[in-house]
Symmetry: D2
């Protein structure tokens, strides 16, 4: 790997500049919501913007949420992944870092697809999600989103999975169900 390609972005920018970040939401555990009428825990649309605003302080970050899908990633098919790749490509025109919220079960499949089909990246594309939905007291969602936002500012252009304070560069990343986290291989 060539050193120059791993430059952290922030070094070249105005230190007080506000960073625009696009968050593409696709569903997944991280955004599952409990419905007290029927007792189900399902993807029903994104609420990440409100959560970010109520839980995090981001005076230098301007988040734009692009709601794409509301799917448990176990049920994503090729068409869904084509849509994710197309949307990432389209959002890349804004020339700002992209965070993709995605179910953990097939996150590495979608991230690999982006890695294979999107070239000449000028910004990082960072996938993340959660083992436990936002809204649970012991959720890892806020941690993972916090880290993905920061990672998307610091990393060199490329496709990554950010999870549990660790950054994995695609390809060769997978979920390790037993360890309840991701790993490289």
């Amino acid at each position: 790997m060539v050193a120059g390609k791993k430059l952290s972005r922030f070094a070249m920018e105005n230190i007080n500049k506000i960073t625009d970040i696009v968050i593409i939401t696709t569903g997944g555990t991280i955004e599952k919501v409990y419905d007290e009428l029927d007792g189900t825990l399902e993807n029903r649309g994104t609420h990440i913007k409100n959560k970010i605003q109520s839980k995090l302080r981001l005076p230098y970050t301007n988040v734009a949420v692009y709601p794409l899908l509301n799917k448990d990633s176990l049920y994503m098919d090729d068409e869904d992944r084509r849509l994710i790749v197309m949307t990432v490509k389209d959002q890349l025109k804004k020339n700002c870092p992209i965070v993709v919220l995605h179910g953990t079960d097939t996150m590495s499949v979608s991230a690999t697809k982006c890695f294979e089909e999107i070239h000449d990246l000028k910004v990082p594309v960072v996938f993340t999600g959660a083992m436990i939905p936002l809204g649970f007291e012991d959720s890892d969602a806020v941690q993972n989103v916090t880290e993905a936002l920061l990672a998307s500012k610091l990393l060199a252009p490329g496709v990554y999975i950010s999870f549990h304070n660790q950054i994995f560069k695609l390809p060769n990343v997978r979920k390790n169900k037993d360890k309840r986290t991701f790993e490289g291989f």
Copy 2:
């Protein structure tokens, strides 16, 4: 700035490697604790390790806490800062990233001191703290610690303040009281 010096560390490492990080605690708002017997909110010793373990998932991070001071940073003097510099220097022998928890009011003074007096860094030294103590529902402490830990893995060697999802490289960083955050100048 030469590109090669800004290399993000993780690119050169085993992707699943567990990172050792030293957290040096000095007190500050972030670690102020309420005493229900006398109603005071003061620095009484560090509890960051327990908080990290109960709030964050860090399967690839091994945190060692070095409790140095328990001071509101408004009351730190030259001697305290000498002690911080000496301790950072000493902990640097472990060759792992360092996070310093510090009061916000004079964080930039201590960080500048480290920047001026510690040379040939081979790892990042990342200062952070909080506007509202750990233990409050609306504290920014967990966010800031989460970010500082990740930043300490991703940044090139140097002295930084990490705060509210923004990284400021020393020198020329200060607290902006009105904006309730840090800024470069």
Copy 3:
């Protein structure tokens, strides 16, 4: 209703006496737990004792948990309700107030059964549950348990549903799904 039968119990007791309370757990939304391995939210056993100890201060209350069932109350049958009635009867021998944690969908059915089949009560039997499980940030479970414990100390002998800071004496209580709470009728 005769006034004398509605006497609040505490008036006749040593004011600093520690009250023993039996909590019978039957499952229900209140105790549904998220499994991050398979993404299900289900009744898997009781954890109310730990929750009570970590969330509430009860220096004058000695809670004994009797784990009976782990059922969504929609799936309770006559046999389950016979078991609940039998268990309440059995626990009444301890002569201390009883709180029953129960799913909301058929809570009034089980409570009515207890009302009809248990006579000569000398303590209150207080049913409660939750619209959103313990473990969610916006759960009403801790509120309902807090209230049920206090109600079980203050109420005259009888069978009650305690929910959302309101006490309903059996019979003629039902869940109002639209209002997401209980009501008398």
Copy 4:
């Protein structure tokens, strides 16, 4: 004590009736707020109404907050207590239960004053407060307010301190600092 005077109120009312409750706020630990600009934790006005609405479900309770004082109860003097007694008397004209939020250190003094100077009560007057302010993750404030609201509906007319799921009828109640709660004597 005559049994008839201890009748719990709710027995005589429409079971679905919404109860009006007046909360008189006087300051105290329960309402101390952290100021991130100067790092102080002080009484600065009441925010109990917002907290109640965001933390509790009270479909049958209509809370009206009467903001009276913003004092640490250690610094209350005779004049303050006269004001509390006068305000309670005045609010009693509304003929609904009253909850008084008060610092713990001299709560029993103010409550005793009310007990001595207010006669022919037709509703309960329930004092409560907290060992740890609202806004801390481990605060007992929400628990105490939840209990005081319910107690104010269930108790016979009289002056009480409600704390940590225990009800103490005035007089002869005091804070036990070592036990971090109240007790009768």
